[in-house]
Amino acid sequence: MAQPVSKQFILPNTRQSIKSSVQELLDFVINHLPAHIDKEVISFKIEVILIELLTNGIKHAGTKETLLDITIDDKSINIDKSDFGNRYQPGNITSLLIHDSGYKELLTKDGLHSMYAVVENDTRIKFVCEEEGDDDTVIDVSNLMEHFGLLIITKASDNFTYTYNIELGLNTFSVLLVLDGSPF
């Protein structure tokens, strides 16, 4: 088994820099992928995850820079996006951390998906997405949600969590992709 490869990137937290930052990160991942992995499938997933993680940071963190740590081994890719900015507050997510582990709260729901936040411990929340209806279900278009960032990351990854370290004031979004070569 090859040794894991890790690298930390310090990236500007600006709209203008997203494209070049994503390309730099994507190049790093592709260059360190195990040989047996289908690069085309994983590239799509990694690219949309990186775009949404960085966009989320610009919208919510309010910091000049964001830290991004990537670790790749034979079986998985881990991406941690961290900042010391504002607590991530949409849906009052951080207020859910007072609940016991396993507590599950509906964040959004429309005819296509339900998005949940599940408390894992007193600092970490896991995002879970469930598809609604089937191919024959008539979708109520007027009810469609218009925010897709969390949904895209959750569905493109195998595990997606948010951790808030209250002592450090550190927000961390962590994404895991299992390298089993399966399509989404």
Partner: protein
């Protein structure tokens, strides 16, 4: 950003002339589409073959414009999606609500 390419009986074909459809231009896109609808009162088919990638913010603006037109008994149709954008619509299941075509001729 959005330019008229062809006017048909009941649908207006427009081209989206941006490579990166993102947080930066989503609101402007929605405004332009709604203005076109108000002027022509037709469904709008958007040729997206020039677009390299779409982020969640732009996707939200597309859905918002779509909902606006549907409420007024018209549609927002999509043409010429790249493979990655097709994958994004499949991932978000928006391919179940938007009508997606390869070419304008497929619509008319």
């Amino acid at each position: 950003m959005v330019s008229i390419y062809k006017e048909h009986d009941n649908v207006l074909l427009v081209k989206l002339d941006i490579k990166e459809a993102s947080l930066e231009n989503g609101d402007a896109f929605k405004t332009e589409v709604i203005k076109l609808f108000e002027k022509y009162q037709k469904s709008i088919a958007i040729d997206m073959s020039a677009v390299g990638y779409i982020d969640s913010s732009f996707l939200g603006s597309m859905v918002s414009a779509f909902k606006h037109l549907i409420a007024l008994k018209s549609e927002l149709l999509l043409i010429g999606l790249s493979k990655d954008i097709t994958n994004l619509f499949a991932l978000t299941r928006l391919d179940k609500v938007f009508k997606i075509y390869n070419t304008f001729d497929d619509i008319t």
